[in-house]
């Protein structure tokens, strides 16, 4: 797989920067919600919505679309923001996040907003549904793919492992699971709460093809997913190593930002940092 052309990479990085700004603005407006995981998955969701997915924002029910499921629904802000910037709905609507009457429910509801594929928030249920979708596609000989974004914390749910066994049994090579490996959850480090390592070995033992990459490097993530897609006869997992709170210095690596929104002054600092990062992308692209 060739690497992305530099101008294309810079464009994607610019989109990821927009997505992060959308996350900060919507969380500030909501006054509650989940910052750390949303920010750390901005590069992955940008890669999906602006490069990897076969989709049409104006026709979210298109039968031939790839299915992107968000299993860890609490990081809905990153999905909403990426969808808005990709053209699914007006960017201004991000400011209705979590408010009474909004389509952008605190946790994603399929019936509420076109393009969500499924309802989530209760953890550990995404891969099972993705397994069902991928099996359904196989039964019909359809060529769309299923991607399921999961968090490391939700690997503590038994159902996720039931889905891992099932997907391998049915050799669902049209299914790719992405793990947001940020090593945090609510009560602290995942390894303190319930040790998950060696995670890659566990997937391998369950007959999955395993890939690992830097989930905050858009180019590396895209290249890794392209390799995963080429696998035949097995489901694949991409363990995306991410920095919780990525892009906002005072949130990075701090699990206490798991379920907290920025206050007004914090959002100001965050947006200033993101605008500076945006300038840097532009400069490197010009240079």
């Amino acid at each position: 797989m060739e690497s992305l052309a530099p101008h294309l990479l810079a464009t994607l990085q610019g989109h990821a920067n927009d997505v992060r700004q959308g996350i900060i603005r919507s969380l500030l407006a909501a006054g509650s919600g989940h910052s750390a995981g949303s920010l750390d998955m901005a590069d992955v969701f940008t890669a999906f919505y602006f490069h990897l997915l076969r989709h049409d924002p104006k026709n979210p029910d298109w039968e031939e679309r790839d299915r992107l499921l968000l299993s860890c629904g609490h990081i809905a802000p990153v999905r909403y923001s990426a969808m808005a910037y990709a053209g699914y709905f007006p960017v201004d609507e991000l400011l209705t996040l979590r408010k009474f009457g909004t389509r952008l429910q605190g946790h994603p509801e399929r019936i509420s907003l076109p393009g969500l594929e499924t309802t989530s928030g209760p953890l550990g249920e995404g891969l099972a549904q993705g397994t069902g979708m991928a099996l359904g596609a196989k039964m019909d000989g359809a060529d769309w793919r299923v991607y399921v974004v999961t968090s490391d914390g939700e690997h503590q749910c038994g159902l996720h492992w039931e889905a891992m066994m099932t997907a391998a049994k049915f050799k669902l090579d049209n299914l790719t699971c992405v793990v947001d490996r940020n090593f945090i959850q609510i009560d602290g480090s995942t390894e303190d709460v319930m040790p998950l390592e060696p995670l890659a070995d566990k997937y391998r033992a369950f007959n999955w093809e395993v890939f690992t990459c830097d989930g905050n490097d858009i180019g590396a993530f895209i290249a890794t997913v392209e390799r995963a897609k080429a696998v035949r006869g097995k489901p694949q997992v991409v363990i995306a190593n991410t920095v919780p709170g990525k892009g906002v210095s005072f949130m990075e690596h701090d699990y206490l930002w798991h379920g907290k929104p920025p206050k007004a002054d914090e959002a100001d600092v965050a947006l200033r940092e993101l605008l500076a990062a945006r300038e840097a992308i532009g400069a490197s692209n010009r240079g």
């Binding site: 629904g73 946790h107 509801e109 928030g121």
Partner: protein, 336 residues
């Protein structure tokens, strides 16, 4: 207000806060009472242990964790595990309290609760946090409004829904002392404190918080306050309501429910839960068998919750004071 003194004497007997005076009301989430009660239960009995599913702060298990680190177990996002493992710990002589959001425990873990706690008769206490639509902005996926129904239908379960943070502390202590699988339900939002340290509390014993004979309002949880305020508004119109704090859903205080129906001739039930299968349904079962009277049901009317502020949602789902006043008038109109 002809019966004002009667209403006052019930409140006095129960040693309530003067709930009619907004300045006398403090707002504290019921979950805080659980946190305080659990620490006290741990002090009184070293067999009491706490197990949490990655929600120590929001379920208020954190003070117990700080006080008794050796008796605190973190299990991660594994609500089926927490139940079955607690059954094992109970079999080994512990008194486990297990905490998550009500949506996940007992929501996700229902069959484990039925088999390993209730059928198995193990002494495990489920603390269901964030019950009701008053959870707020998290939305429908996190708003448990079916949990009373799925718990009260299981034989051997004790189901307790205290009305404020002070009562939640007492309920936590009572639950710790009484053998048996138990579900204790509480809420996320701040809510009015209406009871005091002197207010009695006994599992299975409903409490008359206000006396009256026109209509009986039978309420549980944080909406008891709305019921009392509605009763005061109705009193200004000459309608005197009895307000019953029906905190124990199972075993329900049947004599108190029948007496309320007999004395008042009409009942309004109030709960932050689906009207199908909840506390009000149990009241209806009792009255259909023993003393049929008109009943109006305040609660969620067969819908899911959504994002919003607690106040917006309590109003949207017809559980505010105005809705209770209207239900009382409907019930009154149906009286023979």
């Amino acid at each position: 207000m002809a019966n004002a003194s009667v209403a006052d004497s019930a409140a006095a007997a129960m040693q309530l806060v003067d709930y009619r005076d907004p300045a006398a009301i403090v707002q504290i989430p019921t979950r805080n009472g659980f946190g305080a009660g659990l620490v006290e239960a741990g002090r009184r009995d070293e067999k009491v242990i706490a197990i949490c599913a990655d929600l120590a702060e929001s379920t208020r298990m954190e003070p117990f964790k700080a006080a008794f680190p050796d008796r605190y177990i973190e299990i991660g996002v594994a609500e089926q595990m927490i139940v079955a493992m607690a059954a094992g710990l109970a079999a080994a002589g512990k008194v486990p309290f297990i905490a998550s959001y009500a949506m996940f425990n007992p929501g996700r873990s229902w069959e484990q609760v039925r088999t390993t706690l209730a059928l198995n008769q193990t002494n495990v206490k489920i603390a269901g946090a964030h019950a009701g639509v008053s959870v707020g902005p998290d939305g429908a996926t996190h708003q448990a409004v079916e949990d009373i129904a799925i718990m009260r239908v299981i034989p051997n379960m004790i189901v307790v829904v205290p009305c404020d943070s002070v009562q939640t502390k007492k309920a936590t202590l009572a639950v710790a002392e009484r053998f048996g699988p138990t579900y204790l339900r509480f809420a996320r939002a701040e809510s009015a404190v209406i009871t005091t340290d002197g207010t009695p509390f006994e599992i299975g014993k409903a409490q008359t918080f206000r006396d009256g004979t026109d209509v009986a309002i039978v309420a549980c949880g944080i909406l008891v306050y709305n019921a009392l305020i509605a009763a005061e508004q109705l009193a200004a119109e000459g309608i005197e309501c009895r307000v019953v704090n029906n905190h124990t859903i199972k075993p329900m205080d049947e004599p108190a429910i029948v007496a309320a129906a007999r004395d008042c001739g009409a009942v309004v039930t109030v709960e932050e839960h689906q009207v199908h299968g909840g506390m009000g349904s149990r009241v209806a079962e009792i009255l259909a068998a023993h003393h049929p009277v008109p009943i109006e049901f305040i609660g969620v009317q067969d819908r899911f919750g959504q994002s919003g502020t607690p106040v917006e949602l309590v109003e949207e789902y017809g559980m505010g004071v105005t809705a209770i006043v209207a239900a009382v008038k409907r019930a009154l109109g149906r009286k023979k």
